[in-house]
């Protein structure tokens, strides 16, 4: 049924349709509305049988999810930013133990300086934690990916992180097609754990493993994750059969057939990029887009196939590897090994900095002329950067950077338009 609602609400309803048995979470912006809605559904009995567990921290949230999942319950949680970092140890444990927890990450920057706005630093900081990572382009895809995530995770016995841009998607009202319970039931079988703590058949989960077998256990985790590359397209195809729309998959191309320049990105910024590409196409530019839905495991073959006909690749990412450049772009480079083409990294939208059509248009026109630096910080305010650098040169005790920059700008309120 079509409805106009907030992204968080759409995801909460989709998760409820997946019949989770345990939902545990600790509130943190911009994820809070999702678990608030689920908590309400549990309280009113709309979502039953399900236990909603209030916990004292994100570390506890993931620990409860681990316990619940090991006991055979379909388990869900959500977090963002510092919350994800705070639960980091348990995040690795969940995947190491092979427990198919589904977690929404409402992507938000990581401090310091503290910042509640969107970028991909949080999820990408845990890119190697052994979770499958999916990135949603819009709210329809966010809700669809959650339904696919339970299916995929439970088949592989691996946890799945569904990433959606904080505020930009979580707090956006837009049209979504909410599936029926019958559709979700037809697509998502009852959870049949591959390993379970069952008093009737006692086992222990979580043994200490020494040098004699640790590498083998880790290899198997890698091999299992790579299986997702085969399962995801099949599950996306089946999803289309049941729900009648394309959602999920590994990557999506847009006007790439004859493109000389291809822009690679993840998440909601893909929409803005596509609008710019439409305008440039209308003016005769051969430009296309490759959107990455699946970040872990990284779809190396699909990315390579999508990009190999291009002359240049511009990777635009809401994350950065301090001291290197990009994270997404480093991964994309892996896929382009041996191919001769220009590659550009563009860091954009950190901490909620708006990514505008105007800036993207200028960026892509420059890229077409191969006039871009290898690493570009989109719309960086050089005036305040240089002022701070001069200040540091002039005085050893030049003060905290964040406070200095805010004073230079004279901020009354965060401005984003």
């Amino acid at each position: 049924m079509l409805k106009q609602c907030e992204g968080s609400r759409a995801v909460a309803e989709a998760v409820a349709l997946c019949r989770p048995e345990v939902v545990c979470a600790y509130p943190i912006s911009p994820q809070t509305h999702i678990v608030e809605a689920l908590g309400e559904m549990v309280k009113t009995g709309q979502l039953a049988p399900c236990e909603f567990i209030n916990v004292e921290s994100e570390f506890a949230a993931m620990s409860v999810a681990i316990g619940a999942s090991a006991a055979g319950a379909r388990s869900y949680t959500a977090t963002a930013s510092q919350g994800l970092l705070f639960m980091a140890e348990a995040v690795f444990n969940a995947s190491g133990l092979g427990l198919p927890i589904v977690m929404t990450v409402a992507n938000r920057a990581i401090g310091a300086p503290i910042n509640i706005w969107n970028d991909h630093s949080d999820a990408l900081a845990l890119r190697d934690a052994g979770w499958i990572q999916l990135f949603a382009e819009n709210n329809q895809e966010a809700l669809d990916l959650h339904i696919q995530a339970f299916r995929l995770g439970e088949e592989l016995s691996l946890p799945v992180m569904v990433c959606m841009d904080g505020f930009i998607l979580t707090h956006a009202y837009e049209r979504v097609d909410m599936p029926t319970q019958e559709q979700v039931d037809a697509y998502l079988p009852k959870y049949e754990p591959r390993q379970v703590l069952d008093p009737a058949e006692p086992v222990s989960i979580g043994a200490m493993v020494g040098p004699e077998a640790f590498m083998e256990v880790r290899y198997l985790a890698h091999a299992k994750q790579m299986e997702a590359l085969k399962l995801i397209p099949a599950y996306a195809a089946e999803f289309k059969q049941v729900f009648g729309r394309d959602s999920g998959g590994l990557t999506h191309t847009y006007h790439c057939e004859d493109a000389e320049t291809i822009v690679v990105a993840m998440g909601s910024v893909l929409g803005t990029i596509k609008d710019v590409v439409d305008e440039m196409r209308a003016a005769g530019h051969r430009i296309g887009v490759l959107g990455i839905t699946l970040f872990r495991p990284f779809p190396i073959e699909g990315v390579r196939a999508g990009l190999q006909g291009a002359k240049r690749v511009v990777v635009l990412e809401k994350s950065m590897a301090v001291g290197l450049g990009g994270i997404l772009s480093t991964n994309v480079r892996m896929a382009l090994s041996g191919l001769h083409m220009h590659g550009y990294t563009v860091i954009a939208g950190l901490g909620g900095r708006a990514i505008t059509k105007k800036s993207l248009m200028g960026l892509f026109l420059k890229a077409e002329k191969d006039a871009l630096e290898h690493v570009t910080f989109l719309d960086l305010d050089w005036a305040i950067v240089n002022k701070q650098l001069e200040r540091e040169k002039a005085r050893r005790r030049s003060g905290p950077v964040a406070e200095n920059l805010l004073r230079d700008i004279g901020v009354v309120a965060a401005r984003n338009y």
């Binding site: 009202y173 909620g352 105007k358």
Partner: protein, 196 residues
């Protein structure tokens, strides 16, 4: 695509207004996208929210930089925030005020604007009268429907009933309806004055 930017203060229902406008447009079969500009979620702090309305899927995620309409829920913001940034030359301006644009010191600024696209309405008073709380967002939506015709009043009313329930919903419906009627009357009077 029609783009509306809402300016107000925390506690005035700025974000809710943008969401309700998107629901109203959706009810009329259109695509709509509403989103807030977060940060200062404190009562009284400047808040901005956005709503786009179009006949096809809206993929654009940038904040609204060139609005077709502005809804300014608090006139004291005029001295603090650049509310008019990027407004299209023939754009609509709705301000919650009992004063005229000239009395607000905007006479020169709006001299080149189409007068039928300017609307000053004492929305806080309407809210106090009907709802009993100083929340100008809903009466301003009623006024917006009257001035722009982008959505119908009955769609706004449907959106109000989706967001609120019971007495609060009906009080807000009354506030929106009166605001809509007041603006219509003013527009009729202006048209009449022109023809005479």
């Amino acid at each position: 695509m029609f783009q509306v930017r809402f300016h107000g203060r925390g506690g005035q229902g700025v974000v809710t207004a943008a969401e309700m406008l998107s629901i109203a447009a959706f009810d009329e079969g259109r695509h709509a996208q509403a989103f807030p500009s977060f940060g200062s979620e404190r009562t009284g702090a400047p808040v901005v929210a956005f709503c786009r309305i179009a006949d096809r899927e809206i993929r654009l995620r940038e904040p609204i930089v060139a609005p077709d309409a502005l809804i300014i829920q608090d006139p004291t913001l005029l001295h603090q925030v650049d509310c008019f940034a990027g407004l299209k030359p023939d754009g609509y301006i709705l301000i919650n005020t009992g004063k005229s644009f000239a009395e607000l010191g905007l006479g020169d600024f709006v001299a080149s604007h189409r007068p039928e696209r300017l609307c000053a309405i004492a929305a806080t008073e309407l809210a106090l009268k009907h709802v009993g709380r100083p929340v100008p967002n809903v009466p301003l939506l009623g006024a917006f429907a009257a001035v722009t015709g982008i959505v119908r009043l009955d769609s706004v009313i449907k959106a109000i009933r989706e967001k609120f329930s019971g007495k609060i919903a009906e009080a807000n419906v009354a506030a929106a309806t009166e605001a809509h009627a007041l603006v219509r009357q003013k527009m009729e009077a202006a048209r009449h004055a022109e023809t005479v």
